[in-house]
């Protein structure tokens, strides 16, 4: 099966002042796949992710070279960052629920994008919560403050919130780093099912997680892309020695 290219990075280099965070990254992400990005701390994984929804724009001294395209369009050519972030959702490492009710957390993005119809909003909220495997646990608690949910529930709420604005691409920045194994399993289950509708990029410190959910895996080290390939192949017979060292736990 050959999927079309959804995201393309060509010679992408990023600097924060004098620090070079990414060095000439070229890779493609295919539509409807899950690409896992692994690598030790400071390897540029999160920086790469944050380029895709232009979250680095506000960083002081941020500068970049190269080309990033989604569906062939240069995402840095257009000034409409909000539209881009609607298409490219992001789930953070810590569950950041907004200080409002469960319902409002999911409806927040919809309201910001101008939805007024109450019935339509309710149905999207329900659908999003179901997709994030959270509906059964919160259907009677929609008007409660979101902070009252458990950590795992909060992270699934963040996922539901991201789904609600109907993105095409979902970025995960170590989404399970603070979660228990059961919550992690639920998130992973959701991710695998999302493959029908979304292109997903997962940055993770957990190589096992990358192996479990990633169709392909990329290994970043010190701002460079060392290796990218089919997850199975990368984990069983990596081409580069450094990849082998990392996944077998010899460093990082």
């Amino acid at each position: 099966m050959v999927s079309p290219i959804k995201v393309q990075s060509k010679d992408l280099s990023v600097r924060y002042g004098s620090v070079e965070a990414l060095k000439s990254i070229s890779l493609d992400v295919y539509a409807n796949e899950i690409l896992s990005i692994i690598g030790p701390a400071n390897s540029g994984k999160s920086t790469f992710l944050r380029c895709l929804n232009r979250f680095n724009d506000n960083q002081p001294n941020f500068s970049f070279k190269g080309l990033l395209t989604i569906d062939g369009q240069n995402i840095y050519a257009d000034g409409n960052v909000e539209m881009l972030r609607k298409r490219v959702g992001m789930v953070f490492a810590l569950p950041i629920v907004l200080p409002m009710t469960v319902f409002e957390n999911v409806a927040y993005g919809l309201r910001r994008h101008g939805m007024k119809d109450k019935t339509q909003m309710e149905s999207i909220v329900e659908r999003s919560l179901k997709a994030a495997y959270l509906w059964d646990e919160v259907k009677d608690r929609l008007q409660e403050h979101a902070m009252k949910l458990s950590g795992g529930q909060q992270q699934r709420l963040c996922l539901a919130r991201t789904l609600a604005v109907d993105p095409e691409i979902i970025l995960y920045d170590e989404p399970c780093s603070g979660l228990d194994p059961i919550s992690t399993a639920k998130i992973e289950e959701a991710m695998l099912r999302f493959k029908q509708n979304y292109t997903q990029i997962l940055v993770t410190n957990n190589t096992k997680q990358a192996a479990r959910v990633g169709d392909r895996t990329a290994f970043f080290l010190m701002g460079q892309l060392i290796e990218i390939g089919e997850t199975k192949k990368l984990f069983t017979s990596p081409v580069d020695r450094r990849t082998d060292d990392y996944i077998s736990g010899r460093f990082g």
Partner: protein, 294 residues
């Protein structure tokens, strides 16, 4: 060895007592002040009824028979305070939002120290500047017989309330985790939408406290209002007439009263009224701050 140990215990005990005393000192002082105020102020109500005092429209403390109606003074304070609040709150909050969320780091530092300087200007200096610049400006701009009006006082007091409002509101905004903003932005909210719908509600209790403390500052202010509001103890028809506030009355007349006279007691009774007003303002501010913790 044993002796050394006892010495340590004594030292601990002394330190604990000292800290305890300092801790309760402020409460004791507040209590004493209130008792003193009450003792002197309530003496008035032996000769003047409470409703005549609060609702009487004539403040003629040295005529015979003397009249001690403080309604004009309450209205004067209200006009000046409300006017100052209406001016200072929107500007103060907007400025806090700008400093906390929008301004580049360098601008932020400059603005913050600027606001601290504004807070440090003695009120008599502000009153003096107001008298020299603001009062003639108000007179000429609005074609009034005098520039010494409630409006001038409100404008001047707005300046004095601003630093309080800005710095406390800014602290409240800064206390909102930056991650909230990121989460909102990641959903495609604009910067303004993130500020207005996420950061602002999250900081609302702190901002309310800032507003209340700003109002408390305004209502207690004496020197500047005495200098620029005209000090006419009558009920004004509009903001553009001279008024006299509760505080200015006490400050202006205390020196001329006979100790133990009704006039003397009346000024203390005004003090009680002020005390009660500020107490409630602080109480509201306090409830606002702690509402979030519940």
């Amino acid at each position: 060895m044993q002796k050394n140990f006892n010495g340590k215990l004594v030292k601990e005990w002394v330190i604990e007592r000292c800290i305890y005393l300092s801790g309760i000192a402020s409460i004791i002082f507040v209590g004493l002040i209130f008792i003193f105020l009450a003792k002197e102020g309530f003496s008035l109500f032996k000769t003047v009824s409470v409703s005549d005092f609060l609702l009487g429209q004539k403040w003629y403390p040295i005529s015979t028979p003397a009249q001690f109606g403080i309604l004009p003074l309450i209205v004067g304070s209200l006009y000046v305070t409300l006017g100052a609040t209406i001016i200072a709150v929107p500007i103060g909050i907007a400025s806090a939002v700008y400093i906390a969320e929008v301004a580049p780091v360098k601008t932020r530092e400059i603005l913050k120290s600027g606001i601290e300087v504004l807070a440090a200007i003695p009120s008599v200096v502000l009153g003096f500047i107001g008298m020299m610049t603001l009062v003639p400006w108000v007179k000429n701009t609005f074609h009034l017989p005098t520039g010494l009006t409630a409006f001038s006082g409100a404008l001047m007091l707005a300046f004095m309330a601003m630093p309080t409002i800005v710095s406390i509101a800014e602290d409240a905004l800064n206390a909102v985790p930056k991650r909230y903003k990121e989460a909102a932005l990641a959903l495609g909210a604009t910067r303004w939408q993130a500020i207005w719908r996420v950061i602002f509600p999250a900081a609302s209790s702190g901002i309310l406290a800032a507003v209340m403390l700003g109002i408390g500052r305004v209502i207690g202010e004496t020197m500047a209002v005495m200098m620029i509001t005209g000090n006419a103890a009558r009920i004004p028809n509009s903001l553009f007439e001279p008024v006299r506030t509760l505080t200015a009355t006490v400050a202006a007349e205390m020196g001329e009263t006979v100790r133990g006279s009704d006039h003397y007691f009346a000024l203390f009774a005004i003090g009680i009224v002020l005390f009660i007003i500020t107490f409630f303002i602080n109480l509201i501010a306090d409830l606002a701050v702690h509402r979030k913790l519940k």
